[in-house]
């Protein structure tokens, strides 16, 4: 049984490619319903457009709930009719799992296990399966805290295996690594950054060979690369964040095109919406690339929109951040002025998802919140207690919402 893209999926992939062209006009790359191919979605901005997600969460909105074979803070990704997830298990968390589920039924299509080649020690709150996998629509790229980067095809056949933790033996953080890979064109981009060793690399999606590897600041860093979509003839760039700031990197060569040097957070990651780069730096700072794409200009900075662990999101003209007390702050996307705050319950690790005018939050205690943000205020629309620790970020695909705990993967959809 093969799980290759169906003809309808192929059409959708073509549509995505067409939409990539639209990104040049300012639309974000995640402007297609369907796949959710990497951490924070195809556009790495947590925005799912053209989805009809259930906003009244209740037991009835749970389409299925599947038991998982291992722990994980990684989020699910969706490719065609497959939902793919990673997990880690074993006393030393050195068993690396990749699991593919049928999106419709939740049935396990295939599971592959590997043995970590790098260090697997983590803070107890983290685990080896913390980075979210990525896909180019034909392959899965599963990355782990051990710096193992594993590529399979959609049927689970191993395509190549890179043990970056074995190739570079100090490429680890004793608290664990969390940076998720992203795919731009034919390159998988990873950040492996700790005090002992730090680099970013572009890996060929087909061969697994290193296209480029650049030194990065030797500081602990848990952020993930961000996509700066192609614009006005300029190709897409990868934005690499660190305590030093942000570097825009050519995904084909690793050449740095421009830098933002004012420092940035090492946990929440940047995002790009309509050509504006929103950086967790001194609160929130926004910049815009120049017309020729080789420099940036500041837009605004707001010190009272500082995010904690979850990355910021943008919805309805608002920047949304979550602080360490579980309060969300909404700022005006054009000025950075804080407009309102809304306190939710508990602490948050996962980044919320923005779709059909709503925000979908999952706190560490397993409470789901659906919030409708408007210019003047935010309102909690519904809540659901999933009763399990959730530290991951949700995904959206084909009108369904997915989230995982250490033990389960849930699918939420409109009740039929």
């Amino acid at each position: 049984m093969k799980y290759l893209p169906s003809s309808s999926t192929t059409i959708r992939i073509r549509a995505i490619l067409a939409l990539a062209g639209l990104a040049a006009t300012g639309l974000t790359l995640s402007a297609q319903a369907g796949d959710w191919r990497q951490f924070r979605g195809n556009g790495t901005n947590s925005i799912a457009l053209n989805e009809n997600l259930p906003t009244e969460l209740s037991g009835g909105s749970v389409a299925w709930k599947i038991e998982l074979p291992g722990r994980g803070l990684s989020g699910p990704i969706a490719v065609g009719q497959q939902v793919v997830l990673t997990a880690s298990s074993g006393y030393a968390q050195d068993r690396l799992h990749i699991i593919s589920f049928d999106a419709e039924t939740g049935e396990t299509q295939w599971e592959r296990q590997f043995e970590a080649t790098g260090r697997t020690g983590c803070h107890p709150k983290m685990c080896v399966a913390t980075p979210t996998p990525a896909s180019d629509g034909e392959r899965i790229f599963a990355f782990y805290s051990s710096s193992d980067l594993i590529c399979t095809d959609l049927a689970g056949n191993l395509q190549w295996y890179r043990g970056f933790g074995a190739e570079y033996r100090n490429a680890s953080n004793s608290l664990g690594m969390s940076s998720s890979p992203i795919v731009i064109g034919s390159t998988v981009i990873i950040q492996v950054e700790s005090e002992a060793e730090a680099f970013a690399a572009g890996v060929d999606t087909v061969t697994g060979q290193t296209k480029w590897k650049i030194d990065r600041p030797r500081k602990a860093n848990w952020t993930s690369p961000t996509l700066l979509p192609a614009d006005n003839g300029r190709p897409a760039l990868a934005l690499l964040q660190s305590s030093a700031g942000l570097s825009a990197v050519d995904p084909e060569t690793g050449n740095v095109v421009w830098t933002f040097d004012s420092g940035a957070s090492t946990i929440p990651s940047s995002l790009v919406v309509d050509g504006t780069v929103i950086i967790p730096s001194n609160g929130l700072t926004t910049v815009k690339p120049s017309a020729d794409g080789t420099a940036i200009e500041s837009v605004w900075n707001s010190s009272n929109l500082s995010p904690s662990t979850p990355s910021p999101v943008v919805i309805n003209g608002l920047t949304i951040t979550v602080n360490s007390a579980g309060a969300i702050s909404a700022g005006d996307i054009t000025t950075g002025e804080r407009l309102w705050q809304l306190r939710l319950k508990g602490k948050f690790s996962g980044t919320p998802l923005a779709s059909n005018g709503h925000l979908f939050f999952f706190n560490e205690a397993g409470y789901a919140f659906v919030v409708r943000p408007e210019k003047e205020k935010g309102e909690i629309v519904s809540e659901l207690d999933l009763t399990e620790t959730i530290l991951s970020s949700p995904a959206a695909s084909d009108n369904a919402l997915y989230v995982r705990s250490d033990a389960h993967l849930w699918k939420f959809a409109q009740q039929r």
């Binding site: 043995e115 080649t117 295996y161 074995a166 002992a196 060979q209 602990a220």
Partner: protein, 379 residues
């Protein structure tokens, strides 16, 4: 010539060819290297092995021994691909052969465990049949399961038999959480437990310092103890002349706490050394835990170094394979403290043990000899 002659002759030609294909395919998987070397051949090899079906399962498993970890992951992929396809096709796996493989402790622990878990999917009763006999297995996973069963039995036992079960469990335990559970139960029953010897911690050291590590600049500096290990020498240190001093730890988990036992000299570094008497030439693991930057030498050879400060510490944080020679082996460690002021960044300590890949202690000659005398305590 009867009508079977030609097919039989053909078969004779085909069978060795298939075996050669299998061997070549396995060789391709064993040849994969870092940086994606050999990947194209490996992909083809997996397809070849899958086409051979269940007959190739055992050759794939046997190839784990002696293969690199990277190659093992390709072999694992081939095994799972074949097993998955066979089961989805409604065919059964060659249970007898696979079961014999699981029981053969000379085979790769990780391959045996993977095989066991595939067999469990269809034969869950195997867990009860096999695990109790795996208390001293080379696979830490099998050991863990066997120890867990004994702990569970002991905790459900009310009389003195519980102590015997805990003591038996301790003989196979290699994981910290299980050792702690067992040790507490035994100690509560009035039985002494020698945890340092159970894990093989190095408890007695000579230490010298502090040397300067202000602004974390001391890590690459080659101070005199790195040049010549002279335990009678005296050197100029960070705060005056320094010389080697004995230091021992009484900590159950072998923690040498420089900050508490000596002083938390901020922006400093210390060297500690000990001698480990090996009964023979042998491959072992030195396992280290420290929140500080460190370097490790064995017999004057720099084995590993890591410049990371205060990102947590735990038992077996670092597993470093080393080759020991028969007789005296010199272990030297450099431990560096920085100048961070946060409360969680004040530890200046390390713990080190010698064990095999399973995690079971490998004891030096003197302690091994002592272990042969009757003892009331349990390690």
């Amino acid at each position: 010539m009867n009508r079977f002659t030609i097919p039989i002759a053909t078969l004779c030609l085909i069978v060795p060819a298939v075996a050669d294909d299998t061997a070549d395919a396995i060789q391709a998987l064993q040849s994969v290297g870092e940086r994606s070397a050999g990947t194209v051949d490996a992909r083809t090899a997996v397809q070849t092995l899958k086409q051979g079906g269940a007959d190739n399962l055992l050759p794939v498993l046997k190839a784990f021994n002696g293969s690199s970890l990277l190659a093992k992951n390709w072999l694992r992929s081939a095994f799972e691909g074949i097993a998955d396809a066979e089961q989805k096709a409604g065919r059964t796996l060659p249970k007898g052969d696979l079961l014999a493989f699981v029981k053969d402790t000379s085979e790769s622990p990780s391959a045996r465990r993977m095989t066991f878990e595939w067999l469990l999917k269809r034969s869950p009763q195997l867990e009860d049949q096999l695990i109790p006999g795996m208390l001293l297995d080379p696979s830490p996973d099998f050991r863990r399961d066997a120890v867990k069963r004994l702990i569970d039995q002991a905790s459900a036992t009310k009389d003195g038999a519980a102590t015997d079960l805990y003591a038996k469990a301790m003989s196979g335990a290699v994981h910290e959480d299980q050792v702690k559970t067992i040790a507490k139960a035994l100690q509560d029953a009035g039985i002494e437990v020698n945890i340092p010897r159970h894990f093989g911690f190095l408890m007695a050291w000579k230490i010298i310092g502090p040397f300067d590590n202000k602004d974390q600049k001391g890590f690459p500096v080659v101070y005199p103890p790195e040049k010549t290990l002279d335990l009678s020498a005296e050197y100029e240190g960070q705060l005056g002349n320094v010389k080697w001093q004995p230091i021992t730890t009484e900590d159950d988990y072998g923690v040498v706490d420089i900050g508490k036992q000596i002083e938390n000299y901020k922006g400093s570094l210390m060297y500690a050394t000990t001698t480990w008497q090996s009964e023979m030439d042998q491959a072992v693991e030195i396992r280290l835990g420290t929140p500080n930057a460190w370097k490790l030498w064995v017999n004057d050879e720099l084995i590993f170094e890591r410049e990371e400060y205060h990102r947590g510490t735990r038992l077996d944080q670092y597993k470093v394979p080393v080759s020991l020679k028969a007789g005296a082996n010199t272990i030297l460690v450099k431990i560096c403290q920085n100048e961070q002021e946060q409360s969680w960044a004040q530890d200046y300590k390390f713990q080190m043990r010698v064990c095999n890949r399973t995690g079971a202690a490998v004891l030096p000659v003197t302690r091994a000899a002592a272990n042969s005398t009757p003892r009331k305590e349990i390690r």
